[in-house]
């Protein structure tokens, strides 16, 4: 090999090696950029997925609270009208019981007393009522005794408690030993009616 041939060989080998080194570096660089771009897409996708999930949860919770608020408003309306119905009844009861001496009121008071006594298993009972009802009962006591005795098929000793109680109307019956009690005041009957018939009352209130 001549000198020139040897120099050309050395140059060409060097050029070849340089090209190889640069080529490999460029390839590695290209891969690094591509990997970074893939990672960037992944970062965006993951963030987007996370945000969507967070927003879905936020929506679910928000709508759930809105529905709860709405349902509460509906319930409040229902409770308000139930209360208004009860207030109306109480108002009518007060008006009705102030017409003390009406024949109908006396009949009702007698019925309430008979019903209450019949629910007490005792031959000696005491009746509590408000002042006006005590007056009315006092007048009708003999008739009441007679009805109850007939109903129970035996004599029942009925006594009025002269200490008036605070009630719109009606009676509370106690066995004399104090072990049994039957509250048949208007307030108690109203409360029982309300508890027993709340579903029906709601249906009646909100039907077409």
């Amino acid at each position: 090999m001549s000198k020139e041939e040897l120099k050309t060989y050395i140059r060409s080998k060097a050029d070849e090696e340089v090209k190889k080194i640069i080529g490999e570096a460029e390839n590695t660089a290209k891969k690094m950029i591509e990997e970074a771009e893939i990672k960037a897409v992944q970062i965006k996708d993951e963030k987007l997925k996370k945000i969507k999930k967070e927003m879905d949860e936020k929506e679910k919770a928000g709508l759930s609270f809105a529905k709860m608020d709405g349902r509460k408003k509906v319930m409040d309306v229902k409770e308000e009208f139930l209360k208004r119905a009860l207030d109306e009844v109480e108002k009518r009861l007060k008006g009705f019981s102030s017409s003390k001496m009406s024949e109908k009121y006396q009949e009702i008071l007698t019925d309430l007393t008979v019903e209450a006594v019949s629910n007490i298993d005792s031959k000696e009972v005491k009746i509590s009522a408000n002042k006006n009802d005590l007056d009315t009962l006092r007048k009708n006591l003999q008739a009441i005794r007679s009805i109850i005795s007939k109903m129970k098929n035996s004599e029942v000793d009925i006594e009025l408690d002269n200490k008036p109680i605070d009630t719109i109307g009606g009676v509370i019956i106690y066995s004399k030993d104090g072990k049994q009690i039957y509250n048949n005041t208007f307030e108690a009957r109203l409360s029982r009616t309300f508890e027993e018939s709340k579903g029906k009352l709601l249906t009646m209130l909100f039907e077409e």
Binding site: K7, E35, I43
Partner: protein, 106 residues
């Protein structure tokens, strides 16, 4: 003498080749460093840009709208219920009164 000169020229050529290789390695390092920097920039940019604020604001607006619609539906229902109850209140009071008194109250 001629042989020595030729050998010197070849050694020079070898040195040039070595220098070219060194420069090539240096350039390769620079290419890799530059690529590394650009790759980091791409990732950092993605992390910064991935806030999706517009999307979040749009979803918040949509959720708000849906909540308002739900509440409106319940408010409409409350209004309808109130109208019905106003109409039926007296009838219900009659029914309760009848139960409380045990007789039909006139």
């Amino acid at each position: 003498m001629v042989m020595t000169l030729e050998l010197t020229e070849i050694i020079e050529e070898e040195k040039k080749a070595e220098k070219a290789l060194e420069e090539a390695k240096k350039k390769a390092d620079e290419i890799l460093e530059d690529a590394k920097r650009r790759a980091m920039e791409i990732v950092e940019k993605a992390q910064k840009e991935a806030s999706f604020q517009d999307l979040i604001e749009e979803r918040i607006r949509e959720i708000g709208e849906k909540k308002r619609m739900i509440l409106k539906q319940f408010e409409d229902e409350c209004e309808k219920l109130s109208k019905k109850a106003d109409k039926n209140l007296s009838k219900v009071a009659d029914f309760i009164l009848e139960k409380v008194l045990g007789v039909k109250h006139e």
